[in-house]
């Protein structure tokens, strides 16, 4: 078997390495001469065998001769076994099948890694497999253990398709464990060994792994120990996941003086000298891993890829890419990018030829910077991305997903074009002005941010939850148009220079918030606030506080939200971030004036908002519209309907110029305007407005989208008000059907729809049929988590009470009404206009029972509220009329007649209430005539 006697070393340096038994025989000096010669010739050519042989000799020298394997230990498994991983320091006792760790049942050992032992286990509660990592107790002690647990919690909050999900962290017998997603597949190393891969296979894998890493970076997590073993490929669907975030233990000193010592191979150079891990050090490990992987590919990678990886491997972390996204963009062949570059170069060339003299070079430098920066931050809405988003949308199985995708696609395409156009024009502006003024820099910063924000949103759209699909259009619209950046005046300052990492994190969190993923966003936002404060980055602090305020607002934590928005506004003013300042003041005004109901302070904040918006000049157009909408709402809340209508008109006009007619017509502003018309009794205008609202929603979102259902409900309400309950019922039924398909059981709007349906059925006199529908609405509303449950519940109760009263279920009616009234009072909302309706119904029931004093008491209170402006005219008239009846019963006849006449006049102003009018006339003629 040995090529004995061959004299030519090159031919005898056998292709195949001798196996361990043969090398061991040589090392232990028990090999045959022929065998020895063969091995000598092999190791002359094969350093790895030589080093192995030398190592075996060294080990033999130091006394550890091979001894026969000790046979089984005396007593039975498992208790008698020593640790799996033995020797010094604290180590694990091995776990055997059906042992438990926390609530998890161990199934088998999967492997042993640097940080501990990994088992496959079963989570009996959720009936799924998990991987359990038992961490080495000697590495994680005391404060470090606490830190790890905190980090594990942070990791558990990070949920991304390309990151192995951490489910749980805990300690058992003082030993830390992590429960994480079990990935049945191969590590990158195994994947590469399984069969030869092509460069494009590897690059596709790199995109996935890198996307996971980027998501973690945005959430403020660094990996610290990225290597092929931590990149997993799932066999079932080929998805790539990054695992073991933050688990690397960096406290072991790296031995420098030992000849065969290994250092962690993929570690960035700066970590070897003790610098703290960063996204940049992860980037290094990522690039080294991918460089090696490409080395094993069947074909060879294009030069551009190698160049990008080399940049990621630069010794100086600052010379690497700014972030993973930029790196991934460089690892992605993109025709758009080249086209873009071409456009820029021609633009520069043109200007350079026209221009002359000394500052040419300076200009060219300036320009290169500008091009480079924009290109680096460029947002791509290319066909591959579009495809991913489409697939992501359709995967949610939302019935409106296709339509939602199409509209989002259209919008993003438009934004992409705007971004390119704006970038191009911005550079030309900078050039023709000749000076790199602050304005030019401010424009460039603005464009770069616009691109970052769009990119962050697209990342989320690529793997969306249903809620994201539902909100996609709104989320795109909530970002400003890149064209706004062009309107930044020459005197504007660029604002603070911000750490790009924080900026990217912010963009991601903002995208999460805008797509309704509030719970996922909150922890990150809080972390970002404190990081910005630590780094004294007031611009980011302002933005993060603004997001925090919005999230708190969503959770009904109004005073916390107000405080966050206030701090955001202050930080924004301090950092001259005018756009943020304007938004923060706007939010604060809405929160204080509309939600909390402090009209005076609300107005003050609105004035501050106005100052900020005016300072923005033309670039703040969008916010001018929002300011008008805010003023309309404040006026609505305070009962000044005419002023509200004026402002709403202005807001709608701004929206039309900014977003085009469809989006404007389908906006909240359009709806508010319709309702304002209705409340002022301008029925035709209201109807026109709201029907346009409905059809614009259909056009934008399609017939299956919850937003369209909302449009149907609004028109249904209008039809109800104008006395067309048959048409109203049809709309409401359609809305109920759409919402049942599109939204979960406990969505408040499903209860609203159900309630409106009941009302429209009730309006047609089918009271018995309406009752179970209304009760169902109440049941749904009671399941709504937290906000806006109580508001919803009391509204349904009022309607239920009214229905029960009509069915002469007086006890039930009084019960429902009292419950509603006490909910208002508990919330400190004793002056809420809707309260008037509950009181009115109670009054009617008391009247029927001849409890005139009780009736008079509640109706008096109802009238006070109704006159405050909250109720529909028809309802206000009804309150007056009921009170008139109560007063009549109390023998206060003059007062009673006066009120009844007032009621009749009021009802004449409103339309479609001839029945009620006839009732009043009859009552009056009976009293006056008789």
């Amino acid at each position: 078997m040995y090529p004995v006697g061959s004299s030519d070393p090159s031919s005898s340096s056998a292709l195949e390495c001798p196996d361990e038994e043969e090398l061991l025989a040589v090392a232990e000096a028990r090999a045959q001469p022929a065998q020895r010669i063969y091995i000598e010739q092999h190791v002359d050519r094969c350093p790895s065998c030589r080093r192995l042989l030398s190592a075996l000799v060294l080990l033999g020298r130091s006394g550890e001769r091979t001894t026969p394997t000790p046979s089984a230990l005396p007593s039975a498994l498992p208790s008698a076994l020593p640790s799996v991983l033995p020797s010094h320091e604290g180590r694990h006792a091995p776990l055997f099948p059906f042992a438990t760790v926390g609530r998890y049942r161990i199934l088998r050992l999967l492997g042993v890694g640097g940080m501990g032992v990994v088992y496959l286990a079963e989570d009996p509660e959720l009936a799924r497999h998990v991987a359990i990592k038992l961490l080495r107790p000697d590495l994680w002690r005391g404060a470090e253990a606490g830190m790890l647990q905190r980090e594990a919690r942070a990791m558990a909050r990070l949920s991304h398709p390309n990151v192995v999900q951490v489910y749980d962290a805990g300690a058992v017998d003082g030993q830390l464990f992590l429960a994480m997603e079990y990935v049945d597949g191969l590590t990158l190393r195994g994947w590469l060994q399984e069969q030869p891969r092509t460069v494009s296979d590897i690059l596709a894998l790199a995109q996935q792994a890198g996307t996971g890493l980027a998501a973690a970076h945005r959430a403020g997590l660094t990996h610290r120990d990225l290597k092929p073993e931590n990149i997993l490929w799932r066999r079932s669907d080929g998805r790539v996941l990054v695992s073991d975030f933050g688990l690397a233990h960096t406290h072991d000193a790296i031995p420098r003086d030992r000849p065969l010592a290994g250092t962690p191979r993929y570690l960035a150079p700066e970590l070897r000298i003790g610098t703290a891990p960063s996204p940049q050090s992860d980037q290094f490990s990522f690039c080294l891993t991918m460089m090696e992987a490409l080395g094993l590919a069947k074909d060879s990678p294009p030069h551009s890829i190698v160049r990008a990886l080399r940049q990621g491997l630069r010794e100086d972390p600052r010379a690497r890419f700014a972030d993973m996204d930029s790196l991934l963009a460089a690892l992605r062949p993109s025709p758009n990018r080249w086209l873009f570059r071409f456009l820029f170069t021609t633009a520069i060339a043109g200007v350079l030829m026209a221009g002359a003299g000394g500052y040419r070079l300076a200009l060219r430098d300036q320009h290169r910077r500008c091009v480079a920066e924009l290109e680096r931050k460029q947002f791509h809405w290319d066909s591959a991305t579009t495809d991913r988003v489409r697939r992501g949308f359709l995967n949610t199985k939302a019935p409106y997903a296709q339509q939602a995708f199409e509209y989002a696609d259209r919008l993003l395409h438009k934004r992409n074009e705007e971004l390119h156009r704006a970038s191009e024009q911005s550079c030309e502006l900078g050039l023709s002005a000749g000076i790199a003024g602050d304005g030019a820099r401010a424009r460039s910063v603005c464009l770069s941010r616009a691109a970052t924000d769009l990119q962050a949103l697209v990342r989320i759209l690529e793997a969306p939850e249903s809620i994201v699909v539902e909100r996609a259009t709104q989320a795109v619209l909530s970002l400003r148009s890149p064209l706004d950046c062009l309107k930044i005046g020459p005197e504007s300052s660029a604002g603070t220079i911000t750490n790009q990492l924080l900026r990217d994190t912010l963009a991601h969190l903002q995208a999460l918030t805008n797509t309704g993923q509030w719970i996922s966003a909150e922890a990150g936002v809080r972390q970002l606030v404190s990081r910005a404060q630590q780094q004294k980055d007031r611009a980011i602090e302002a933005e993060a506080l603004y997001l925090l305020g919005r999230l708190q607002w969503e959770k009904d934590e109004f005073s916390a939200a107000a405080s966050s928005l206030w701090q955001s506004a202050l930080a924004a003013e301090a950092s001259t971030e005018r756009d943020v300042a304007a938004r923060a003041w706007l939010g604060l005004a809405g929160l204080t004036g509309e939600v909390i109901g402090d009209a005076v302070r609300g107005k003050e904040y609105a004035d501050l908002a106005q100052v900020s918006v005016e300072r923005l000049g033309a670039s703040g157009t969008r916010l001018v519209g929002e300011l008008s909408l805010l003023r309309a709402r404040l006026a609505h809340r305070s009962g000044d309907l005419a002023a509200a209508e004026r402002e709403a008109h202005r807001a709608l006009d701004t929206l039309i110029t900014y977003e085009g007619i469809d989006l404007a017509e389908s906006s909240e502003t359009a709806r508010l305007l319709g309702i304002l018309f209705l409340k002022q009794g301008q029925i035709d205008k209201a109807r026109q407005q709201l029907e346009r609202f409905e059809s614009a929603l259909l056009k934008v979102h399609g017939s299956q989208h919850p937003r369209y259902a909302r449009g149907l409900l609004t028109v249904g309400m209008l039809l109800h008000e104008v006395g067309q309950p048959v048409l109203a019922e049809a709309r409401n039924r359609q809305a109920v059907r759409i919402l049942e398909q599109a939204l979960p059981e406990n969505s408040p709007i499903r209860a609203d729809a159900m309630m409106n349906l009941a009302v429209s059925v009730q309006d047609q006199g089918r009271l018995r049929e309406a009752l179970p529908i209304m009760q169902r609405a109440l049941a749904i509303m009671e399941q709504v988590p937290q906000h806006p449950r109580d508001d919803g519940v009391r509204l349904v109760l009022i309607n239920l009470c009214d229905l029960e009263a009509q069915l002469v279920l007086d006890d039930a009616a009084l019960l429902s009404c009292r419950r509603a009234v006490s909910l208002f009072e508990q919330a400190g909302d004793g002056t809420h206009p809707e309260l008037a309706e509950a009181l009115r119904v109670m009054g009617v029931v008391y009247l029927r029972r001849n409890q005139v004093d009780e009736a008079q008491r509640v109706l008096q209170r109802a009238l006070a509220l109704a006159e405050h402006g909250g109720l529909w005219k028809a309802n206000r008239a009804a309150v007056r009329f009921a009170l008139a009846q109560a007063l009549w019963g109390q023998k206060k006849r003059t007062e009673a007649l006066m009120l009844a006449r007032q009621a009749r006049e009021e009802l004449r102003g409103a339309s479609g209430s001839s029945d009620k009018l006839a009732d009043m006339d009859a009552w009056l003629s009976q009293r006056t005539g008789g």
Binding site: M1, P9, E20, E21, L24, A25, A29, R36, E40, Q41, D44, P47, S48, R50, L52, L53, A55, L56, L58, L59, G60, R61, E64, T66, P68, T69, P70, S71, A72, L73, L77, P78, L81, P82, S83, V84, L85, P86, S87, E89, P97, L109, G111, V112, G113, G114, V118, G190, Q193, E194, E229, D252, A253, I254, P259, L260, A261, G262, T263, R265
Partner: protein, 297 residues
Amino acid sequence: MMDVATPFLNALTVASQTELAYSAQDHAQLNAVLHRILQAAHAAWPSIALADDRFLSYVAERVIPSPSVIPFPDLMQRLEQLHTSDLFLCCACADGNDRAIAQLQSTTFPMLDRALARLGIDPQRRYEVLGELIPHLFVADDRKPRIASYRGKGALQGWLRAVAVRHALASVPQLQEDDQALAVQPGTFDLEAQYLKTQYGPLFETAFADALRSLSVRQRNLLRRHLFDGLRIDDLALIHHVHRATVARWIERAREDLARYVYQQLSKQLGLQQKELQSLLRAIRSHIDLSLSKHLR
């Protein structure tokens, strides 16, 4: 006594692809030896269940290294020398017996960890190497699991240690080694070596690489092991079955050959004066260890 020899010989025939010539007496002797082997294996691993015929055919596949013919007495001798109880454990592991895998881990991994520690591998990396070893040893990929390639010639512990060390070394980056080699500096500042380096840098490098190629395989390996792997003269004496004085002489000779070769090359090309040549030779000698550590990887 049950006949286990016949199935064993059948398995052996398949493995060696040759019919073995033997007598009835031989058969009885073989049967007895196999029974002894079985008894010892079961005694060594009482808690591991493994069918006798499966184990014996596993041994049969390994007792002869590759398809070949050996006389019956040789077969018997080999069987006697084979670490069959170790093979028993490995066979169960290769068959995916969890209990056997756990036993093997618990009885051998402490030793592997100590061995890696002595090679200067840090705890983190040791943990990783041992962890990577588990799937490597026990999980069949496209072929057989690695544990199946242990043939029982030496003790299992030694084989496992070699496998572990190979694995650990493979993951020490080449780059690292370069760095280490380049980082080796002469103990004291040597003006002549410095001069040589700056004056004749590239020329010297070429000459040195040629000189290295002119040495014999044994000389090259000696120098590498001695200067790079850190083996002492005694260790080298052991490998080569010679007295330590002989190894010392070999090394001295190899160095001198190298220095002479480089000197000849350089003096031919540079046309230096006698005095300069003397100085050059001194410089070459003092520089040689440094360069060796760079070249002899």
